[in-house]
């Protein structure tokens, strides 16, 4: 198998508010790969994404996760981000009073500093960010607005991908990067993600819809249900899910478990 191991998840279980949501997840992601995680609402997809990023509301109760061979869970969310893990939020958070440009520069310089690279001053950063804006067909006026405040759903999602483009993580977990987007916005977001792919990084697309996968071809498609990955296939599986729904996968899983 080519590429190096980026993420290894073994028997991961997690709770939120005392309720077990993840019931034993196994997943292995190598550099250069695109994984799609699909599944019905409430199957635990978003929880999995948030647990990886270190959201404080989620409690890891078992299993282990290695990121580039090192335990992920002994690191704070900010340490994970600096190590090259990125979560694209399903619902990006609005931060009134903080301009997008200062937020992006602060994040960029923090992550760069952790990588032992030079920080950029506001002017240098402006040059750097202009190229990234073009990639996502974003108006530079975005930079002067407060982070996500008053952004449309599509603008928020593009702002997430802009952060992805700026921070250049090793592993990007994009939680429903496609929901709420019209076809044009979807194409822009998907093209942005595709152009950021390299043999050294990997992407996990958490999605509800097959549509996104027309633009970003996954190497693996995983179906998640009731806190577990119950089936893994290739991009054909996504098409099959689109036409047949999820029930048959769950039925198949149950009969397999019974046998």
């Amino acid at each position: 198998m080519s590429g190096k191991a980026l993420l290894e998840v073994h028997g991961l279980t997690a709770k939120v508010a005392g309720v077990e949501i993840l019931k034993g997840i196994d997943l292995s992601v190598r550099s250069g790969q695109v994984h799609a995680i699909m599944g019905p609402n409430g199957s635990g997809k978003s929880t999995f994404a948030k647990v990886l990023a270190g959201h404080p509301a989620y409690e890891v109760t078992g299993g282990e996760v290695l990121f580039e061979g090192r335990n992920l869970f002994d690191r704070t969310p900010e340490e994970r981000a600096r190590a090259g893990l990125f979560l694209g939020f399903q619902y990006p958070v609005e931060i009134p009073g903080v301009t997008n440009s200062s937020f992006l520069r602060l994040a960029y310089n923090t992550v760069q500093g952790a990588r032992g690279r030079d920080e950029l001053d506001p002017l240098e950063f402006d040059d750097y960010v202009q190229d990234k804006l073009k990639l996502l067909d974003m108006d530079p006026a975005f930079l002067e607005r407060s982070v996500n405040e008053g952004f449309s759903g599509g603008e928020k999602k593009r702002n997430e991908i802009l952060q992805l483009a700026i921070l250049e993580p090793t592993l990007a977990i994009l939680d429903e990067a496609d929901s709420g987007l019209d076809i044009d916005a979807l194409r822009i977001v998907a093209n942005g993600v595709s152009r950021l792919r390299s043999p050294d990084n990997a992407v996990i697309l958490v999605t509800h819809y097959q549509r996104l996968l027309n633009y970003i071809t996954p190497d693996y498609v995983h179906v998640m249900d009731d806190g577990r990955i119950i089936k893994t296939g290739d991009k054909e599986l996504a098409l099959e899910l689109e036409s047949r729904g999820y029930d048959w996968v769950a039925d198949e899983y149950r009969s397999r478990q019974a046998a």
Binding site: E78, F86, V93, G97, F103, T110
Partner: protein, 434 residues
């Protein structure tokens, strides 16, 4: 052991001690005004937490502090006020321990505009001032205003003729320079019909010792005139600061106020704004950023006494350490003040478990065709916002600072003067990081 009651009953006397030695004013009506205020002050007692208006603000630390009147203003060098200069400002009046410092002041003559210390204004506009001074803020029921007026000997006077547009903000800098003194700043602003001006009141001290500032500001906004009023209070962390600002707006007048309280051990700001004509507009913004054992109390009273008044108020408090923020925002809509449109919001951020805030919006509506809204929130930093920032690599302290800064930014940006905004932003960042 002297009881608190005994202390407070003699406290005003103590503040008034030496008042009789203040030289008589050049005009008899001012002497009469002072005498009347002295009489009122003698009749009133200093407030305690048993008074509804002072429930949350305990002045006993002040009552235990002996302060002397500033007989001789401190020598003030230009270097002292250097950090407080506002490049965007035009005229600047500087008062050191309550006394006009001509060497530090800059007077830019402008047609139809008077910006001058009281003594000079009295000589040229005495008769006019008689009808204005002590009119918007009466000595009648507030002991501190009465004490201020009893001591009234100097102050800042801003008079703007009809239809004048005063391009540069007027900077009134009140420096409490000597430790242990009580000073009584006074400001009078009267603007003519259709005029526009910006006045900055700026209270500073170069030391970290105890002192008392007891200030009174009177603002009469002319018909269809606009007054922007910025108020910065950044006195010593051991200081006491008690101030009353009264505003009266004539028909279609606009008054906007941005007040920022950073300093003083105990500060109290009374802002009383009333309509003398219909169709006025009030924009009131406040920010208190306090820590340690500071207490910052803002009492505002917006009096919709006439129809078609609009008011919008946003007051924010950020309290860290064991600090205590108080906001009491009363809005009165009197009978007949129809079509009043008023919105008030009090938002409070607590940065530590020991900090606390008392916020009390008070709406009293006696007219039936009005639109009034108010709300109050008290919270800590938002956990989702913190996580979002940390998920982008920002450390916990950096994320907290950024969110605290953002909370204050909404008010700070409304100041609109780049140098003041910048310096306040730096202060906020410095404060949150310490």
């Amino acid at each position: 052991m002297i009881s608190m009651d005994a202390l407070k009953s003699t406290y005003l006397d103590g503040l008034l001690h030496g008042q009789r030695e203040v030289s008589a004013a050049s005009v008899s009506w001012l002497n009469a005004l002072r005498a009347e205020a002295l009489e009122r002050a003698n009749a009133l007692t200093a407030p305690t937490t048993r008074d509804e208006d002072w429930r949350f603000t305990d002045l006993s630390p002040l009552y235990k502090t002996v302060l002397r009147p500033s007989s001789q203003p401190a020598e003030a060098a230009a270097s002292m006020i250097e950090p407080w200069l506002i490049p965007e400002a035009g005229s600047r009046l500087v008062f050191v321990d309550g006394v006009f410092a001509s060497n530090l002041s800059v007077l830019r003559p402008e047609d139809g505009v008077v910006v001058s210390p009281l003594a000079v204004a009295l000589a040229r506009h005495g008769e006019y001032l008689q009808g204005q001074l002590g009119r918007v803020v009466a000595s009648s029921d507030d002991p501190f205003s009465a004490v201020n007026t009893a001591w009234l000997r100097d102050g800042a006077v801003v008079l703007v003729d009809a239809n004048r547009d005063v391009t540069h903000p007027i900077h009134l800098l009140f420096v409490s320079a000597s430790p242990g003194v009580a000073v009584y700043p006074r400001t009078l602003v009267v603007t003519g019909c259709g005029s526009r001006c910006t006045v900055i009141e700026d209270f500073r001290s170069p030391h970290q010792d105890v002192s008392l500032t007891n200030a009174v500001t009177e603002i009469a906004v002319g018909e269809n005139a606009s007054v922007r009023h910025l108020r910065l209070q950044s006195e010593s962390a051991s200081a006491f600061h008690i101030a009353t600002c009264g505003v009266r707006a004539a028909r279609d007048g606009c008054y906007s106020n941005v007040s920022v309280s950073l300093g003083a051990r105990i500060s109290r700001y009374n802002l009383n704004v009333t309509q003398s004509g219909e169709g006025t507009s009030f924009e009131i913004d406040g920010l208190a950023l306090i820590s340690g054992r500071q207490l910052a109390d803002t009492h505002s009273f917006l009096d919709h006494a006439q129809p078609h008044g609009r008011s919008r108020q946003l007051h924010k408090c950020i309290a860290g350490g064991a600090a205590h923020a108080v906001f009491n925002g009363k809005i009165l809509v009197r009978p007949g003040a129809q079509r009043t449109n008023s919105a008030q919001e009090s938002r409070n951020l607590l940065l530590s478990d020991r900090a606390h805030v008392d916020t009390k919006p008070q709406l009293e509506i006696f007219a039936d065709d009005v639109k009034c809204a108010h709300g109050a929130t008290v919270g800590q930093l938002d956990a989702e916002q913190l996580f979002y920032l940390k998920s982008r690599g920002l450390s916990e302290p950096t994320a907290r600072d950024l969110l605290t800064f953002a909370f204050s930014a909404e008010i700070v940006e409304r100041i609109g003067l780049p140098s003041v905004v910048k310096s306040l932003e730096d202060t906020v960042i410095h404060r949150t990081q310490s």
